[in-house]
Amino acid sequence: MQRPATLRLFRRGPAAEVKLTLLVLVAFALLFTDATYKSTNPVRELFSAALYPFQRFVMFPRDMISISNDWFDAAALIKSETEALQRQRIELAQVTTNAALLGAENAQLRRLLGVFEKAAEHPSVVVEVLYEPANTFSRRLVFNKGSRAGISVGMPILDEGGVVGQITRVSPMTSEAAMLTDEIISIPVQVLRNGLRLIAFGSTTPGKVEVRYFSSDADIREGDVLVTSGVGGVFPPGLSVGRIDQVQRSSASGFARAEALPSSHPERYRQFLVLQVPIEPDLAASALKPAASKEVPRAGTKSK
């Protein structure tokens, strides 16, 4: 203790090996908990909240450039947008008259069948891509709004082409989304032509969605359009998912699989729509973990 503070004859504190062992154990514990509880992790939330101001600070020049670009191009942008909207309005006018007719007919048929229609209007939030994380294992997007804007895990993300993906993690200011083509996403779909119900998964082929687990004589062919079926309650019915571009039938297994090209384009624009569908906590957990998690509490109650 008499020693002056600058003189260090002996190493103080724990040995490097001890420190290393501790840190490696902590890292493994984090990896384990992160792999088990995918959507919530207090360490991640803490770091994410701490990182947010720095991320905004670093992205500030880019945001300024895009804002000033928008500002200077405003006149040209508005002109081209007006033209596009005019064209769309004319096209939609025809669709609307047709849809009104179909709607009336549908309502009448539903009355005949005794089926009640639930209003499928959901509030939504417009989000913007904050950044595209560098991750070799999976492709994700990070948006600039989080649980403060009413976003929660499991909500579907749309663009003008259809379903883009699903929210996988939320922090107060940001949210993380997995694309339709990610392997952790599964969406209940329907073939528009004949109403065949299927489940679409992210494909092992990059940039594709695949449907599997249907018998090889099922009526599905190239060019079929897949829309969400609304089964499961997370994705509202009727959203466009993709177009089948390859069907593989295996006579040996009796099953077939088909690949579809997504109709949405997550790589093209910065703005997306998050549909605020009501999500039950266990539904959100099961949406991102396809199996096994639901059995645990039931087994626990039985043993009591």
């Binding site: 490097a16 493994f28 514990a29 670093v58 560098a134 294992f137 994700r140």
Partner: protein, 195 residues
């Protein structure tokens, strides 16, 4: 040397020319082993390169890991301040930013710094290019561990881009180390110049 200068000065004053200023005796600097770089510089470079790593250029899968290089540099040259814990915390921050498996980069950063620190005595006796050659197998090994562990966790092989990234990271070591040594004038090996 100083005596020589002084005699020159007296001679010139005798000759009637105004005497050149006698060089003042300067205190001898502390030995390079005790010579600590300023705390501000260490943390400024670390935070600077960390902020740089938040930018989207890292989306290229083969991009070199500049943050790891700077952490490695300081863990070799200023092991009292920057060590395993710093590497762990920065790794965790990058994990959260990259939304990957939480703890994976923290683990690889910690292991890399440990490997480099156990090589420290040997490493610092070589010049920068040889240091890079020493770091290369370490970086490749630990990146491989990271890739295997990540592949196990997400059950998908990420491809071989991490290998190129490790090669590029090692190749950038001389440049980064040279840049960080510049303000400190410690290009010579301290242990050979002191004796």
């Amino acid at each position: 040397m100083q005596a020589l200068n002084r005699s020159k000065a007296t001679r010139s004053s005798r000759a009637g020319v105004s005497p050149p200023p006698v060089p003042l005796p300067r205190p001898v600097g502390p030995s390079p082993i005790d010579h600590a770089t300023s705390l501000g510089f260490v943390w400024a470079t670390l935070l600077g390169v960390w902020l740089l790593s938040l930018l989207p250029w890292r989306a290229w899968p083969m991009s070199p890991d500049l943050l790891l290089l700077v952490i490695l540099f300081w863990s070799l040259h200023d092991a009292r301040r920057v060590g395993l814990l710093t590497a762990f915390v920065f790794g965790l921050a990058m994990d959260v930013h990259d939304v990957g498996p939480l703890g994976l980069q923290a683990l690889t950063y910690t292991l890399t710094v440990f490997g480099a620190q156990s090589l420290q005595r040997r490493l610092l006796r070589f010049e920068l290019v040889s240091q890079a050659l020493h770091l290369l197998p370490l970086l490749v090994l630990i990146k491989a561990i990271g890739a295997l562990l990540g592949a196990f966790l997400v059950s998908a092989w990420p491809g071989w881009s991490w290998l190129v990234a490790a090669l590029l990271t090692a190749a950038l070591w001389p440049l980064i180390a040279w840049l960080l040594l510049l303000p400190q004038h410690r290009l010579q090996d301290p242990e050979t110049t002191t004796s």
